[in-house]
Amino acid sequence: MIRRRPVLSLLTLVTLAFLLFPILVVVGVALSRGDVLRFPPDGVSLRWFGEALRYQPFTDSLGTSAIVAGAATVIALAVGVPATYALHRRSPRGRRFLLTVFLSPLIVPELVLGFALFQLFLVRAGFDALAALIIGHSVLLLPYAVRVTGASLERADPALEAAAAGLGAGPLRTFFGVTLPVIAPGVLSATILSLLTSFNNVPMSLLLTSRTVQTLPVAMLEYVQTSFTPMIAAVSTLLLLLTVAVAVLAERLVGFQQVFGRSAP
């Protein structure tokens, strides 16, 4: 292939380098021995990994991020899957409008939504930042839950549920015994996608912080803007490894194409 299209292949190579080289830089800097941000790094050491794992704002915010991602994913799926089911199997009135409503959080800038939640829940209503984060992330994840499981439902044969009913299964039995197992790959994809999206989210989470509550990316951002040590690169590398692990898991369970082929809006 490279021989047949030399120019395009070169361009692709350059583009891939452009995309992936920075990741290499991050890993390289994480392995620095010294205090200076420099690539290639001066010396190799794992010390910054140790520092990162001991740095409290990072470890605290990691916990917060995990809680928020977990809670928001559960909420988004718990409300999203039944709604998607209703949209695809019940043909309600105003179906298209409802679909737009559920996908609407995607059109609004996340920062703006973050501010809207900030001024209402934090400033005005005095909510805990954690609660506001969970609400905000749930709203953010809902479109993913609806769209990804929707695609799965659409591909499943609607006659399956009719068959189950004809054989004597009640609505709950049909849903848990037939529908859910059939859309399980879709639900799994949506779960993984949601967890990742929530975990990595920055703009929405920026304003929804307090002295004690902060998500990891926001903590990292704060650190980068004030301190210039390789510790940030170490945290990034750890996150990178975690993400790779999740991606491999997803591939094993569901198949890569299934999860990420549909993540493009």
């Binding site: 991050v26 039944p82 920062l111 703006v112 501010f115 400033v123 980068v224 803007q225 990034s236």
Partner: protein, 270 residues
């Protein structure tokens, strides 16, 4: 179970977590006793400082979009025509960065574009400059960072659009006597354009509203709408003014994406 009962929780979430906060932001942000969002909006759009920032935001986002399309479309085309094994690997390589946080992805440029960074060193080595140059905290740095951020998105949308072009159409064109370039220009390109246009719109919308990259790579001297909004939200107590900025950002995205999609549909209908 009643259809309404199935839909209600999701509707409630959207109402409570999205519609209602938005509404209060427009009308009475943060329980401001004397909200004046419209007034602040008007003064903001006439404020040269704000206008300047909006212009920079659009400029930087526009450039990043153009670069993304210029680089991304050819790459997407190559991937779509690549043999099976290559295709999967290339797609994986391109989309992998999408899984990472924006902080991680933009951080490297801080190292690379700094005064003593690799890029500066490379420029000196090639002879384009004599002294170490600070490329960080410039619009150039923001464009580079944003392009890197959104390029995979464009490649993905362009790829699915290109892959969706029925290959038998190309065979038909070839059968009627069209050469390779003509087939591309007259069959593939027009059919793949709408999908690619959608990708470009998404890239632009994302670049206009991005926070992390402009914040890390642009610095305080090169504010975009997003960084301005964040700063004001954190420091100012004039909630109506902050709301105004938020509205400007929302409208900016809505207007531009609507205009762009109109243009692209007109083009495809022609």
């Amino acid at each position: 179970m009643a259809t309404a009962a199935l839909l209600l929780p999701a509707l409630a979430l959207v109402l409570v977590g999205f519609a209602y906060p938005y509404l209060t932001m427009l009308v009475a942000p943060a329980a401001d006793p004397h909200p004046d969002v419209v007034g602040k909006l008007l003064s903001a759009v006439t404020d040269p400082y704000v206008v300047d920032i909006v212009a920079r935001t659009v400029r930087v986002a526009g450039l990043a979009t153009v670069l993304s399309v210029a680089l991304g479309f050819p790459v997407a085309w190559l991937i779509s025509r690549a043999p099976g094994g290559w295709r999967g690997a290339l797609l994986l390589a391109v989309t992998f960065p999408l899984l990472l946080s924006t902080v991680v992805r933009s951080f490297a440029w801080i190292v690379l574009l700094g005064r003593d960074g690799l890029v500066s060193a490379a420029l000196q080595a090639v002879g384009l400059t004599d002294t170490p140059t600070q490329l960080l905290y410039t619009e150039f740095a923001m464009v580079v960072g944003l392009t890197q951020l959104f390029l995979p998105l464009l490649v993905l949308t362009a790829y699915s659009s290109l892959a969706g072009v029925d290959p038998t159409l190309e065979d038909a064109a070839r059968g009627m006597g069209a050469g390779g370039a003509a087939v591309f220009a007259r069959v593939v390109l027009p059919l793949a354009l709408p999908g690619t246009a959608v990708g470009a719109i998404l890239v632009f919308a994302g670049a206009v509203t991005a926070y992390t990259t402009p914040s890390l790579l642009g610095g305080t001297r090169n504010r975009t709408l997003a960084t301005l909004l964040y700063q004001e939200a954190n420091t100012s107590l004039d909630w109506s003014a902050v709301s105004a900025l938020a509205i400007i950002m929302t409208l900016l995205v809505l207007v531009v994406t609507t205009v762009m999609s109109r243009i692209s549909t007109i083009g495809s209908r022609a």
